[in-house]
Symmetry: C2
Subunit: 244 residues, 2 copies
């Protein structure tokens, strides 16, 4: 089953609920995941890197369990994490334990704690609220009983791990999100993001285009397993999952 | 401008955020409003009347103002209020002062206080989070820059005020919601709700059908100003607003 979730609330510690980003989290049939969190209206200090956060990883990045009949657990440990790549101080490292409840309305509550000052220091609680979307539609359409079956929706995952770059691009339904790190460049110049959506006519509309190596992302996203796909700058991506 | 907002969070007092309903609030071009709040999975005690609340009113029901540059105020005083019609104890009476902020993501925060134990007793704070929808689409599609212009979207308002009944039906875009009270029946038998959406093929799909006098709702919702429309049980509705 694929998932495409849009975040509707982010609440940290004692702050009031808010949502300044257009965050989408994608999950492939086989459990690859990516979450890109661009600010909608970045302020002056955010302009150069207008993202709250971005992370991604293979299925092993998210260990799924159950706390009780109403609560799922996911223990995240991301292979791609912009905070880690940027070596930002006072940001969390390692596993994040999260607790998930589906509300009667179909919205999904996520709660957890992060430890930005170290695992032995006080944690900070967070609450995020997610709306599952119909990944087969090119607009932000809430998932409901009229939606296409997300169990069988398309998902394709591309990866690259070269001398200089590592990246992950996940397509679920009509939506693609990608992250590409330049290994030796631990500044915002080493981070690239892609978000695009396939329109009704089959063309791809780019929604996020960030980073000096953006042209190394693949130009097409849907291919059979084990295919090799080149970006326009000759970086070769490998198809590691293909449900098409 | 019409509005069609879906509620994504309801938080009261010290309780955790939640959303158990599929609440839609409609506002017509001229300021008629209706909000119907059906439980998605009513529990045993809610089965007979599976609604958190329903209210509606003419433009005078909502006095709009400004608290500061970021905060709008709306002082509500509903002409139709299920709590009042049912004479429920420990529910609010009279004006409700609310404060509205639009988040950068486009979600809309509403905060306020209700006084269920009387205006001289302690108030209870509430927080509601709203997602504006594209009223011209038959699914729950988030309003964004690709949406149709809601400034000029269709709105039609029908009212009835007979010896026995009073009611209000509001169409915005493809969505219709209606409320009908039997004046002398201050029980749930005196309350009727309608929600329907116009499909792509022009047919209307009923989403909410509640009440023993449901057949007194009009069968068509779009008509020119001052037209008279009959329900199947010979109650005559009058068109008081028509932007078609």
């Amino acid at each position: 089953m694929v998932s495409l979730n849009r975040r509707y609330t982010f609440q940290v510690g004692d702050a009031l609920a808010n949502e300044r980003t257009l965050t989408l989290s994608s999950g492939s049939n086989e459990g690859y995941l990516i979450s890109l969190r661009p600010f909608v209206h970045p302020n002056a200090s955010e302009n150069e890197f207008p993202f709250e956060w971005g992370f991604a990883g293979p299925p092993a990045s998210a260990k799924v369990g159950k706390k009780d009949s109403e609560t799922d657990t996911i223990d995240f440990n991301f292979e791609f994490d912009t905070n880690v790549h940027l070596k930002l101080e006072n940001t969390h490292r390692g596993v994040i334990n999260t607790f998930w409840k589906t509300w009667e309305s179909g919205l999904i509550e996520e709660r957890g704690q992060v430890f930005p000052f170290g695992a032995d220091k006080a944690g900070i609680e967070f609450f995020e609220l997610w709306q599952p979307l119909d990944s087969t539609r090119p607009d932000y359409v809430a998932l409901d009983e009229n939606s296409a079956n997300q169990e069988t929706a398309r998902s394709v995952v591309l990866t690259v791990d070269s001398t200089d770059f590592r990246g992950l691009v996940i397509t679920v339904g009509r939506w693609v999100q990608g992250i590409l790190f330049k290994k030796s460049e631990n500044t915002i110049k080493g981070i690239n993001f892609l978000r695009a959506v396939e329109q009704q006519d089959g063309s791809w509309k780019t929604l996020l285009n960030y980073g000096s190596d953006f042209d190394k992302f693949p130009q097409s996203f849907v291919a059979p397993l084990h295919a090799a796909i080149e970006g326009s700058s000759a970086l070769t991506w490998k198809v590691v999952e293909s449900n098409i």
